[in-house]
């Protein structure tokens, strides 16, 4: 009787493991990229992604569908990233030194030089605007979906998107002149 129960328990764990691994494989890039663009630090982003997936593992039984999993992952990632940034602000420059030593601040290394510069400018935006812009242009979410993900009023999100985009455009126009001239 106990052996049978143990076998069923093992089978259940095996199903859960496969579910978790599938979700991890599908969404690791999304989670990592969100955390990376929010924090600007690869090491920290990896830690956040790890925390998020461990949290997912703990809450796997509460996930109702594939869509719910994506929504849940985005929401928790944004929340964890905000927490990490808050902790970094509280600890101040010491942490920056620590991060530089242990992880290395993110280097611009993705696509075109212009894309890298734009991404670097994005890191200079206020946190709330950055979050809205990332969800809008990385994840292609509507303002309603962004509001739902961040748990913020729709009007606030629309305003953050508008102001963030305007600020980013202004920064790009003033700081990327050399590139414009070169092109």
């Amino acid at each position: 009787m106990t052996g049978e129960l143990n076998r069923e328990f093992e089978q259940l764990r095996d199903f859960e493991r496969r579910d978790f691994e599938r979700l991890f494989d599908e969404h690791q890039s999304m989670v990592f990229s969100l955390a990376l663009r929010m924090t600007g630090d690869r090491g920290l982003a990896e830690e956040i992604a790890q925390d998020v997936f461990m949290e997912l593992d703990r809450n796997l039984t509460k996930i109702e569908s594939a869509q719910h999993a994506i929504f849940w992952l985005r929401r928790v990632t944004m929340s964890r990233s905000t927490d990490a940034l808050r902790r970094r602000r509280v600890r101040g420059t010491d942490l920056w030194v620590e991060i530089n030593e242990s992880h290395g601040v993110r280097e611009l290394e993705s696509g075109s030089p212009l894309a890298d510069r734009i991404e670097a400018l994005l890191a200079t935006l206020p946190e709330a605007q950055r979050a809205a812009i990332i969800l809008r242009y990385q994840e292609d979410l509507t303002p309603e979906e962004i509001a739902s993900t961040l748990g913020a009023p729709l009007a606030t999100v629309k305003s953050q998107l508008q102001r963030g985009l305007k600020l980013l455009r202004a920064k790009a126009e003033s700081q990327l002149k050399e590139y414009i001239r070169a092109v």
């Binding site: 991890f24 990896e46 593992d57 292609d140 455009r169």
Partner: protein, 114 residues
Amino acid sequence: MPFDDFENELRDSLKREPAPASLKRKVMEARQNRAQLHLTRTSARQRSRMIWFERIAASLVLAGVAGGAVVGHYAIERRKGEEAKQQVFTALRVTNHAFEVMNEQLQRRDKSSQ
């Protein structure tokens, strides 16, 4: 670079990046460790629960034995009391019979003397 198409440029810049290869290994290891820890804690809890069950069962057995002994002792004492009572009654009957015999003899002696 004209910025008319700034939003498209932004979208291209913000394409998802692949996660580092070490992430999956770290997550799977952490998951495995947590499952192992959970299993250890569960079996420790089960062991502790079993010990408590054993203690409760031993207490119940002891209480049963003590109760049985008390009840048995009471029954023996009662039976002894009953036996003693019967002995007293028998002695009383014997005495009574002896008195009756004596009484008859005394009555016969009185009649013969008259």
